[in-house]
Amino acid sequence: MIRRLVQLFIFVFPLLILSAVPAGAAAEKYTERVFISGYGQIIVVDPAAPKIAASIKVKGPVRDMSFTDDGKTGLFLANDRKSLYVVDTVQNKIVNEVNLEARTDQGLLDRRVWGSAISPDGKKAYAFVTQGEKRRSSFKVHPSKIIEIDLKSKEELRSVEAPYGTHVLQFKQNDANTLFVWGYDLFELDLKKMKLTLRQGIKHPKNEKDGIGNYLMLFPRGENGMNSIPLMKEYPDGRVTEGIMWMNRESGTIKTLEYDREPVGMFSAVVDKEENYAYTTLNKWYKVDIKSQKIVKESVPPNGSLYGVNLSADEEKVYYSGAGNEFIIANKELEVEKQLVLPTDTLDLKVVKIEQ
């Protein structure tokens, strides 16, 4: 009898343990890191401590930051928007650098990147470039375009002309063949055909009665599947409203809300995965109830303006950085819990789940 009980224990006990672990937990095994765009360096923060996990030296101010699906590789724009750095986010070291300036038959091709993204598998990079050729006694303007770069060979594979004002490239979730292109309006780039089409007019809406949208797409979000940004709208009767625009990166659906306050020019916003609350920042912090479109909590950043707000990987905390040299962890009632001093002033922050 005892032997049978022992056998039963040996077989059943592990099954009981396994069944007690949520199915998604194994797939969700990750290390959370916050990547902050500094000046002359990418600052990597371990938010659990919080402490600086690494400082990765680059040239000049860091701008765009994008990551592969597994979070193990990041693409960072720096060097006065001329160089893309590929970073191994596990070892926190630069593994590749692509400089987009080039010699031509007659001079130098000066290219600056305004929006870049690494492909989900980390093999290619996409960059929107403005470009012109500096010749000995003249300057030839070339059209702005999105270029596809093979990261191994650093060669430009394909390109397509793209409109002025483009500022963010972002992959559609679970679709490596579609790139959302955010400029004054939202475009979609079909990477199979390398064809760019207008998806939704924002500055140029179909019907101006819906309001002309203006937004500062310097702080794209999307790590939780929602790209979100503060939105100003101007109506034909002269009304100006402030609110939030967000897009589900999987479906591509855009939603907006306008809260009942005078516009103050918020810089960035983050919407939670369940689309219950949004958080915005600049000179004030707002917590916005999405259903009622009301600001339900308001606070003031402790040290002055902050450009960037984001959510922790588990969406239990609100992170702030950008502008000054600090990283702030607050609770969802906008109360500061921890502050970490950083080595440089900053621009933005990205929360990355690095698969283990």
């Binding site: 000046y39 000049g60 701008r63 002025y164 020019g265 080595p343 002033d345």
Partner: protein
């Protein structure tokens, strides 16, 4: 250009050379070098709704590199994209190290 009239021979020569009927080809972004002509988003921080300076970053030094790096305020801070890329190299935190900022002579 339609309201301008050439007064000297050089001006008249330009008028003969340039086809004034033709739509201009140059757009704002196309005016390179890339630096400070590449951004044109006026009005975000500058009180389009009549609220004074509420929308401007506070204190001002927290915004100085955001403005400098991408030439948002090209008249007020050096052009970080083309001519003064190393202006702030010795001053990573504007609030602490501002004495190390270099002077520029445009």
């Amino acid at each position: 250009m339609k309201h301008l009239k050439p007064l000297n021979w050089k001006g008249k020569m330009i008028e003969q050379t340039v086809n004034l009927e033709k739509e201009p080809e140059v757009q704002g972004l196309a005016l390179l070098p890339m630096g400070c002509t590449s951004l044109f988003d006026p009005g975000w921080e500058t009180d389009f709704s009549g609220m004074g300076l509420e929308g401007v970053c506070q204190p001002h030094y927290r915004d100085i590199y955001g403005c400098y790096g991408d030439c948002w305020w090209a008249a007020q801070v050096p052009d970080g994209l083309t001519n003064y890329g190393s202006w702030a190299d010795e001053c990573p935190v504007a609030a602490n190290d501002w004495r190390k900022l270099k002077y520029v002579k445009p």
